[in-house]
Every structure is written in structure tokens, then in C-alpha cells.
Amino acid sequence: MEVLASGIGEYRQPDPDGFREYVRTHKERRLVSKVMTEQEAVSRFVQDGDYLAYDQNVAVRGPTSLFREIIRQRKKNLWIAAKFTWTDASMLVAGGCVSKIDVGWMETGKVINEAIQKGEIKLIEWSNGALAYRHLAGALGVPFLPMRYLVGTDTFTQSGAKVIEDPYTGQRICLVPALNPDVSIIHVHQCDVYGNARVMGAGVAPMEIAMSSMKLILSTEEIIDQQAIRRQPQRTTIPYYLVDAVVVAPFGSYPGSTPGLYGADIEHWLEFAGAQMQGKTDEYLEKWVFSVASHEEMLDKRVGAKKLLQLRQAETIREGYYE
């Protein structure tokens, strides 16, 4: 197999048969409740050294309560996919959880810059679309997918993409390896106790990420009855057998927004931005993560009902989501 060009970026070797074997022996096919606490879900399904993926970002429908629990449990050496994100990576890096980042787009303030300079994290270049597409490859159960971009650039060189001669057209075609995370976390609007889940709105790639992951934790704004799921099967984004854990997490994207439900807390972000600029992210994490035992306690003691009600009122659009 002649490869015409190869990026030098590190990637996990795709292993479709290994993935299948994991699914065969570990995934539950029965309709059983997977509801558990965030503590249990992260403790059982996120291991040090795991490749961790997620859908969306800390601004919109990110699984932010689970990010905090991962930091709280001091998970180490995670390899994350930062595609179409914001301060997600900075927060996890500040928490000491990350050693490698596949970059699509991420905020790169002091935290990321210093971690690079100290050699604490290693970056590999892709793009938002290339990472979403690698999840699609993983979701289809194939080792790679061909695509029409990345080539020609330094981004290609620092990625794990390859170029071959397309056996159909004879032209050069770029291939990217499947991305099959060890674990993914996705925040959803609604799901039943079995994990049949609805994501509302333009969603980046929730289905592809769910399908491509070995382990899958959902956090959800609310649990709905299974018959409600079955009455509108077209609204289901993720079917139950892909899911390992369901964590009930109202305001789970806080300080981000969950479209149709609540707005973002801009002041909170300014607090993080300020902490980052002043080198005080430890204090930020102490306040928002370590000094509270759970997402619920954080909402209760750090955010407060008044703020939650304001954020709920700030989202006036339900059309398209719940209507």
C-alpha cells in the first residue's frame, strides 16, 4: 500500500475489530436503567489515560458538570478532542487532567500557552470538521474516511492524515483515521432512564460521537418517560444501547447555555478569564469544583436559585426546541 504523504501527528491506530470486541463483551443490550450519580459515572467510566471526547462546548450545551466532576476526581493524562470549543480545554488543563489535545479550535490563553511551554501537554493539529469527520469514521465502524481537505497545509503535516492515490479516480485523496474515544460525555436535553436521548438544535456531531465511543456518559436536563420517547421516535438522537450511564444534571451546561432552556452566565466566564489572566485558576477551581461535592451543591451554594431563575428567564426562545 503506497502512501504518498503522511502527517507526523500522533493518533491512536484505528482498530474496528477491537472496538467490536469491546462492544460485544461490555455494552448492555437490555433495557435497564443506567441512571447514576455523576460521581459514579465518572469514577466507573473515565480512566486515567483515556481518550475523552464530547459534543459542543462550554458555551453551548457542553457537558460542563461532567467536566467539573472529572476535575474533581483528578483524572490524569486524558487525551481530548477540542473541536469547535472555547475554554473547555483550558479548564481541563488547569485541572491537571490533560496530556494531549487534538485541536480543531480552542481558546488559547495563559493556561494553554504555559502548559505547552512547560511540555505538559502535546498538541496534534486537525480542524473542527476533520475531528467531526473522524468521529463519523469511528461511527461507521471503518478504519478511515477519505476527504477533500487538510492537504497542502502545515495542519496536514502536524496531523495523522495520509494521502493515497484514489483507486477509482487515480487522483490524490486525503484519508483521516477513525476516532473511537475510550469515553465520551454528551449533555442532552432529555432522555429516558435507559439512555434513549434527544438533542435539540444544530448539534455539531452528537450522534457520531455517541456511536464512535466505547463508553458513553450522558448528562441530561431531565429524565422523561420511555413511552414519551417511543411516541416520537424521530426525535431520538441516541438509542439506549450506545449508552453506559445517565446522569441527571439540570443546568448541566452551566455556565454555558442549553438552547431552549437557559442562557449563559457571562459573569462566570469573565471570572474564569480574569482568573486565567491573573494566574489564579487554582482559586477558580477551588471555588467552583473542589469546594463543592457535586454539581447540585455547586448550583445550590455557588450559583444560587436567583441566578438560575435569571438564566432561565434569559432564554426566551423555545421555538424549534420544545414547541
Binding site: 469491546y22 465502524g141 421516535p233
Partner: protein
């Protein structure tokens, strides 16, 4: 005078497969017809929560019994699914290893469980009789962990050489043949269900092996209905014939029009002894 029970070969197959369905497994079921009816019978009688997907993309539907005549129309067969997706999605779920069993009917089968649903007689270009094609069977037989095949025990179906290998069994039967071809590892045909016998496959030689028979047939009778000679299990089990209750459910609730189940060979057995009387 004891009671008798009358049923067709298709009804026998449906009941036999229904006995094999396990509630903690996920099934990928061919479009319609007898394989789907077998899952529905199992769901109705023994394993109400069993999940299955169909090619068009309905996941774990929960039809309400009795079903209408012919089950035509997706709204009936996809009712109360947990998700309505599409063919590429459910095929991908199979590729990812989520489908424990594929459930398929076939036209012609060889001793390695390879099967034909494309044509019989003549050549590919000029077949004596052309059939529907590989359909969804190729992806199901390739990507599910185990495949349950149903067909009729007839010499023209259990053949030495297929007219066309539409979908893969153990290919040439050599160790690792499927993996070498590029198919997912550790997959393959699991059982072949017929009206009078069930076959498994030898782990080493990958050859078909007779493992169970209906109470009324002998090994000789089974072998007389096959072109090739299968291996024979040390202990050939006796199959459970359909019960009156199962047949009643099939006829009243699953295929009330009888369009699928009322065709083919008819059997009449003595309910108590299980012996054939007509």
C-alpha cells in the same frame, strides 16, 4: 383419541426460532416475512423486551398485537420504536458490533453456511430463475456476531455448490477465511433452522452439523433432503414442535391474513407424542 395439531413449514420455523430468541441480545432482522414474525412471536410469548432493528432504520419497535393483515406499511411495523433512523445508521450499528444476531431467510445454502438469494440455474448472465439479490442479507450476515438462517429442508436448498454466493457463511471453511477476506473477526453463521431439523457449525472445520430434529423424523430422512452430507452431533436433540398456543398467536395476532404462514408444506402431528400423522 388424542388431539392433533396442523401447521406449515413456515410456522414450524417461526416457532423454532422464537424459542432461540434471548432477551438480553439485540437482533438485526430482515425486512419482513418469517424472520420478523419469529421475533414478534418471541416478543409476544417469552421475551417482551427483546430489542430488534430493521433495515430501514427502526430501532426496537414495539408493535401492538394483534397486527393488521400483512403488516404492510411502515407505521405498523415501526410502531413505538425508540428511534427512527435510516439504513446507513443501523448498518453502522451492526458494523460497530452491537448486533448479536442476524435473522435471515435464504434460498440455497452450502455446508459452510454460505448462501444464495440471487439466482438459480444457468449462468449469472442468463439465469434460469432470477431472485431478489443479496438484499440486506450481505451486511447482516457479514457484520452481526452470529447469523440465524432459516430455510426449508429440501435437496435443492442444501446444495454442494451454490449457483451464486450472495452472502457469506464461512466461505471456503478454512481457518480465518472470513477475516482474510476482510470481514469482521469472529463472526459467522450460527444455526440453520428448518421445518424438521436444526444445524450448527463445527468450530474447527466450519462444516454444518445436524444438532436437532423434529420428533417425527430420522437422520436418514433428514440426510435424504440434503445434497451434501452434514456432520452429525454425538447427541442429536429432539426439537419442540410448535404448540397450539404459539400457532394460535401466529394466526390470530401476527399474520392474521395468513399470507406468509399458510403456504408451503403442511404437517399434522399428534399433540402428545409429537409424531407426524399427516
Amino acid at each position: 383419541m388424542s388431539e392433533t395439531l396442523t401447521f406449515t413449514d413456515v410456522e414450524a420455523n417461526i416457532c423454532t426460532i422464537a424459542h432461540l430468541i434471548e432477551e438480553d441480545k439485540l437482533y438485526f432482522v430482515q425486512m419482513a416475512g418469517a424472520p420478523l414474525m419469529a421475533v414478534l412471536l418471541a416478543k409476544r410469548t417469552r421475551v417482551p423486551a427483546v430489542g430488534y432493528v430493521v433495515e430501514e432504520g427502526a430501532i426496537a419497535p414495539d408493535p401492538v398485537f394483534p397486527l393488521p393483515r400483512m403488516m404492510l406499511g411502515a407505521s405498523r411495523s415501526h410502531y413505538r420504536a425508540v428511534a427512527w433512523t435510516g439504513m446507513n445508521i443501523v448498518d453502522a450499528h451492526a458494523a460497530l458490533g452491537f448486533m448479536d444476531y442476524g435473522l435471515l431467510a435464504c434460498l440455497q445454502i452450502d455446508k459452510f453456511g454460505n448462501f444464495n438469494s440471487t439466482f438459480t440455474g444457468g449462468s449469472y448472465e442468463q439465469p434460469e430463475r432470477r431472485f431478489g439479490g443479496a438484499g440486506g442479507a450481505n451486511e447482516i450476515a457479514s457484520q452481526c456476531w452470529r447469523t440465524l438462517l432459516m430455510t426449508k429442508l429440501q435437496r435443492r436448498k442444501f446444495v454442494n455448490k451454490l449457483d451464486f454466493m450472495s452472502s457469506p457463511g464461512f466461505l471456503d471453511g478454512t481457518p480465518g477465511a472470513r477475516e482474510r477476506a476482510g470481514l469482521p473477526a469472529n463472526t459467522g453463521p450460527y444455526k440453520v433452522i428448518t421445518q424438521e431439523a436444526i444445524f450448527g457449525f463445527d468450530d474447527q472445520t466450519r462444516q454444518m452439523r445436524l444438532i436437532a430434529m423434529m420428533p417425527w423424523v430420522t437422520e436418514e430422512e433428514v440426510l435424504s433432503k440434503m445434497e451434501f452430507e452434514p456432520l452429525i452431533a454425538d447427541q442429536v436433540e429432539r426439537m419442540e414442535p410448535p404448540t397450539e398456543e404459539e400457532l394460535a398467536i401466529i394466526r390470530a395476532e401476527i399474520d392474521p391474513g395468513g399470507l406468509t404462514v399458510s403456504r408451503g408444506e403442511w404437517f399434522t402431528i399428534d399433540s402428545e407424542s409429537g409424531q407426524r400423522v399427516g
